[in-house]
């Protein structure tokens, strides 16, 4: 419990009716309108919202860094009692980096590649405080200690590309804190990081807020992340603040229809497709220059009335510290919400009989040749080194089921499915699919095999060829696989478009005219055009906003149910994988460490790696209790994987074994069968693993 201070409650920063516009060819675009909030010492205000909602614009507006075409139209930013609007560039410069600091989304590009970490850090001090280089260095090293940087002295002498992404973000955070700023603005600081690294950085941010009593503006699109670090949360939509409340309050009792909609879009950890449903928000975020006349959310709102169409609501207080901008806030209850008819996905029917195995992978290996840097390599005599991207993976999938694959980036999950589909050459092992051998590359495969094995890609902006219309791109597989007679191709394309909830007007559209979600739908239509038996999904929803993500997941489920398709589904979001998959495989450094039915993976016994992944997942519910297990260090190089159990260098549970798990370094862990196809590769006995406490406990 925190002791009340009892006095002096003026906020560090107070924003009043802030409006920011960008000048474009077509006139000014109002990116942010009438946003107000305040942040006190030691408080974190989390700003959430989908992309294009103006979150980052608020952040950069706060530090008055809007580029040449951006301007503050009206409103006030009061920082430490004084207005920031209209200050001279020199005054602003003195505040930046001293009283106001920033942490950015992408740490790699935010650090200067040609200067050492030390040079970049010390200059903050030497410029603002005018202290000597040596004194500055000492303080920087101390600050790196504070952010739990291993070996700070050495890091000071390194270049940014020589340290890992998580460490880069720690450097950026340490740099921001050097001058003990009163306000810290963090723009998606963990978005580019892996879930385990993200958890560590979020812990760090919470620690630092306590120690430094800094006011933090924390921006993220991820509800789970915001729930973990914020004391209050503001929800932004189309450039407006639609709701603001303390973190527990807003997650327990969201009042604005948009906030409620967002929460219905994300699967709760532990929810699965049999027992729960995702409800996407219909429509899309309006462009800032095509706003509806009334409430900005009205076109997508289930509660909208004529009144909402005419009057734009202002943010108003509806209870102690809870503010919302909805005309009908008092009348709507989240619990009484019923989905409109057309977005209820039909649940998959229960299994009638034991399905046959469709894909059988045994000891699959994919190595990449790594060219070394020695002079011998120049003439091709160097020692051959291999990146073991996938190293002995075995599993089977029954017909019509979904296997989810999870793991940190670099664990080999993408390489696995690229090998299966023939984009990467297989180094060893076997993969049998419908009697076909998957050994050859895609270009040499039999057309029948190609037709039955398709893929849905991650990046919506790259999944479609920008040079051709939607129709042309869906037609291509139809013609190539001769799915339907040539004269029916057009009709079939229209049917496929309808199947992915796009109407036939989309036939002639160009990819640049589509939103991310629509592009992803077209990608799905293209993959399913040949009615394949197995579809590999490489993070199909991770680049999408949550409301679109829900819609795409529902769509995939629906098509899968209709066509009885088998899927392999890769995602880094453990909640999504749990929701979507029947079976889950957890990969680490090219190997499967645990595999089994989805519900079994998410409850003890766990593999220690699975356990730490689960502990790291940001859960969009502050009332959920989560164990604090953090992995140390970073993933070792797949060029030279650790001996024995590959996870032994980071395993937090080794102590459970006699002599601190010496066996883990020597011997490859045995496969232990926990029943029902649940396999764990670990030296720790199943019973011990079984007795571990569940990582996540959801309050009843």
């Amino acid at each position: 419990m925190e002791l009340p201070k009892g006095k002096h409650n003026e906020p560090v920063v107070r924003v009043q009716n802030l409006a920011i516009a960008y000048e474009t060819h077509g006139g000014d675009v109002n990116a942010v309108r009438d946003v107000s909030f305040e942040i006190h010492r030691g408080e974190t205000l989390g700003l959430v919202g989908e992309s294009g909602c103006g979150k980052s614009t608020v952040a950069y507006g706060l530090v008055n860094y809007l580029g040449r075409n951006g301007k503050i139209v009206h409103g006030e930013i009061i920082f430490q009692g004084e207005s920031l609007v209209g200050r001279s560039p020199e005054e602003l410069r003195r505040l930046r980096g001293d009283q106001i600091a920033m942490v950015y989304q992408d740490p790699m590009t935010s650090l200067n590649p040609v200067l050492r970490v030390g040079q970049q850090m010390t200059e903050v001090l030497t410029v603002h405080r005018g202290i000597s280089e040596d004194a500055a260095r000492a303080r920087c090293v101390e600050m790196l200690h504070r952010v739990y940087m291993p070996d700070p002295e050495a890091v000071m002498g390194r270049y940014p590309h020589q340290i890992s992404g998580g460490q880069q973000q720690r450097v950026v955070i340490a740099m921001a804190l050097l001058n003990n700023p009163a306000l810290l603005v963090m723009d998606e600081p963990t978005t580019a990081l892996d879930v385990t690294v993200e958890a560590a950085v979020l812990d760090l941010i919470a620690d630092l807020r306590r120690d430094f009593d800094t006011a933090i503006l924390f921006i993220s699109h991820n509800l789970g992340v915001v729930a973990r670090v914020s004391s209050r949360v503001g929800v932004m939509y189309a450039g407006e603040m639609v709701e603001q409340a303390p973190v527990r309050e807003i997650f327990a009792h969201p009042r604005h229809p948009y906030t409620q909609g967002l929460m219905r879009c994300v699967p709760r950890l532990g929810a699965d497709k049999a027992g729960s449903v995702l409800y996407p928000i219909r429509g899309r975020v309006p462009a800032p220059n095509h706003l509806p006349p009334g409430c900005v959310f009205e076109p997508r709102c289930d509660y909208a009335t004529e009144h909402c169409r005419q009057e734009r609501p202002a943010l108003r207080q509806i209870s102690n510290r809870h503010m919302v901008s909805c005309l009908r806030a008092e009348h709507i209850r989240a619990s009484e919400w019923r989905p409109t008819e057309d977005i209820i996905p039909l649940l998959p029917a229960a299994d009638a009989a034991e399905p046959e195995t469709i894909l059988n992978v045994d000891g699959l290996r994919t190595y990449y040749r790594q060219s070394g840097g020695s002079p011998l390599d120049l003439i091709g005599l160097g020692k051959k080194r291999y990146v073991r991207a996938v190293d002995g993976v075995s599993f089977t999938i029954p017909q019509g089921k979904t296997l989810g694959v999870v793991g940190e980036s670099g664990c080999g999950k993408s390489t696995l499915i690229k090998t299966l589909i023939g984009l990467e050459p297989m180094t060893g092992g076997e993969a049998q699919f419908l009697g076909f051998d998957l050994e050859k590359k895609a270009s040499q495969r039999d057309m029948g095999l190609i037709r039955e094995l398709q893929m849905v890609f991650q990046n919506p902006d790259a999944t479609m060829n920008p040079s051709y219309s939607v129709g042309t791109q869906i037609e291509r597989p139809l013609r190539r696989f001769k799915v339907v007679p040539t004269n029916q191709v057009h009709a079939e394309v229209v049917r496929l478009l309808r199947a992915v909830k796009l109407d036939e007007h989309y036939y002639d559209r160009r990819p640049r005219q589509l939103s991310g979600g629509e592009k992803q739908r077209v990608g799905i239509a293209r993959a399913f055009a040949g009615r394949p038996d197995l579809v590999l999904c490489d993070e199909p929803v991770s680049a999408l906003d949550v409301s679109v993500q829900a819609a795409v997941l529902n769509l995939l489920l629906e098509i899968q149910r209709e066509q009885g398709t088998t899927m392999i589904f890769i995602a880094h979001d453990l909640s999504v994988v749990r929701f979507f998959s029947d079976y889950v495989a957890v990969m680490y450094l090219g190997q499967i460490v645990e595999i089994g039915p989805a519900e079994a993976i998410y409850a003890p016994p766990y593999h220690p790696y699975t356990e730490s992944l689960l502990a790291a997942v940001p859960i969009p519910d502050p009332s959920v209790a989560q164990q604090h297990i953090r992995l140390e260090g970073s993933v070792p190089s797949p060029l030279n994987p650790p001996s024995g159990c590959r996870f032994h260098t980071r395993c937090p549970r080794r102590q459970l074994l006699p002599d601190g798990g010496a066996i883990c370094e020597r011997e490859v862990p045995p496969m232990q069968d926990a029943g029902d196809g649940h396999q764990i590769h670990c030296h720790i006995p199943l019973e011990t693993l079984h007795d571990l406490e569940p990582v996540v406990t959801i309050a009843a």
């Binding site: 530090v63 860094y65 040449r68 590009t109 935010s110 040079q119 270049y159 590309h161 740099m175 840097g373």
Partner: protein, 435 residues
């Protein structure tokens, strides 16, 4: 990093080698005829054949390439039985080849009748004396002919056949001269490019190196001054334009640099001559070299050529630097630097400069090729006696050894600067240094 540079150096050498073959092949397939070029188009076939044989032009291309690259003296020495040596004859102001007896005496051979070989021995004071040789010098070769290998009076390794009454044609001061008892085959002696001997020019009949070097010096002077003038100026102006992106200064610099790069040297040269020489009469419109030191005595002659040469480079480098600067100023790390509250000058000098220089430096160096093109044009336009004009003349004359030597020099310069660029690049880009 060392590996990286080693790799680059390896490829550069490979490139040089490929280029040398390329040029050789190119001059090989060319339909022109050196004999006609150097002797005029009234020669008889016999005269042409004789000329070709004397100059080794009757040999297959591969043989000639090898001779040119690694020399022919070692091969000739094997046939003659004595080593051959090149000496400088100060009184005649020329280089010539002699055979060397074991006691160090230098000799050449000739015969008037195809029967009695005569050895001309060179004495210490430069005079010669004839020593007749006995019939035992004739050796039977693989095909059964009695032959003798020696060095002829022109300094070529030559093969006489006993009793042969071969006729050789040589062009004297103004008339053709035919001599009897001439050798049947020749190997023109040269040390080869790898040992620093690029051969003898067909045009001037002088060693290529002798004429090439002063030309090269002149050109290096011209290009060097141009480079020293243009680089700092262009980089500075480019940075200035990039920092003021979109403002008037930027527009002015961008447009004028575009006009400067887009105008061919001969056109801008004509404009400059018209303005500064014909109209204002400030500067001479041509370079007249009367002596070796003329350039230093009237340095104003160099002003217009240098300006002409620099205009294109100036504009080009300026544009590249500007684009690079604009790009760098938009990066996230410059945003970080700004939001760290650093003063503008510090952002520019510490954060932007090194990054912004990376692109121009590599591109500038690659652009040395263009500079060479410019040199040819500028030297032609202003009558400047440099390497560019030398190449031009050699190419028009089909003077193979001269072209090859000059080309190799130019390619070595082009390729060498690339190596320098790599060094600079690795110095300013730490990412390369550690990978």
């Amino acid at each position: 990093m060392i590996t990286f540079l080693l790799r680059r150096a390896f490829y550069l050498i490979l490139t040089l080698f490929a280029v040398s073959i390329g040029i050789f092949a190119m001059s090989e397939i060319a339909p022109g005829n050196i004999a006609i070029n150097s002797l005029g188009n009234t020669i008889t076939p016999a005269q042409e054949a004789s000329f070709n044989a004397q100059n080794g032009l009757d040999q297959p291309a591969v043989t000639r390439y090898i001779r040119w690259m690694i020399g022919s003296d070692w091969r000739a020495a094997g046939l003659i039985g004595y080593p051959v040596r090149q000496i400088y004859e100060a009184d005649l102001n020329r280089w010539s080849w002699w055979g060397a007896l074991p006691d160090g005496t230098l000799f050449q051979n000739y015969t008037d009748d195809g029967e009695n070989m005569i050895r001309v021995e060179r004495l210490a004071d430069g005079s010669t004396r004839d020593v007749p040789l006995g019939p035992e010098v004739w050796k039977t070769d693989a095909e059964g002919f009695p032959v003798f290998w020696g060095v002829d009076r022109e300094g070529r390794a030559a093969m006489w056949v006993r009793g042969d009454d071969n006729e050789a044609w040589t062009l004297g001061k103004s008339t053709w001269r035919s001599s009897k008892g001439a050798p049947r085959a020749y190997i023109p002696l040269q040390k080869g490019l790898l040992r620093g001997d690029p051969g003898v020019s067909f045009f001037t009949r002088r060693p290529v190196a002798e004429t090439l070097v002063p030309r090269l010096m002149n050109t290096l002077l011209l290009a060097g001054i141009a480079f020293v003038v243009v680089m700092p100026l262009a980089l500075a102006l480019g940075m200035l334009a990039g920092l003021n992106e979109g403002r008037f200064l930027d527009r002015l610099l961008s447009i004028s640099s575009l006009v400067a790069t887009a105008t061919p040297e001969f056109a801008s040269g004509v404009f400059l001559i018209l303005i500064f020489s014909t109209w204002l009469k400030w500067l001479p419109g041509a370079v007249v070299v009367t002596s070796d030191t003329a350039i230093f005595e009237r340095p104003q002659m160099l002003v217009l050529p240098i300006i002409t040469l620099t205009l294109i480079e100036l504009g080009y480098v300026l544009r590249i630097t500007r684009a690079s600067m604009v790009e760098v100023m938009r990066t996230n790390y410059i945003r970080t630097a700004t939001l760290k509250g650093l003063p503008q000058w510090r952002i520019v000098t510490k954060h932007a400069l090194r990054n912004a220089l990376m692109a121009p430096i590599t591109v500038i160096i690659l652009h040395v090729n263009w500079l060479i093109g410019g040199i040819v044009v500028v030297e032609t336009l202003f009558g400047f006696p440099g390497l560019g004009r030398y190449v031009m003349e050699a190419a028009l004359f089909k003077d193979v050894f001269a072209i090859e030597a000059a080309t190799m020099v130019l390619v070595v310069i082009a390729v060498g600067t690339q190596l320098v660029a790599d060094l600079i690049y690795t110095y300013i880009n730490p990412r390369i240094r550690y990978t």
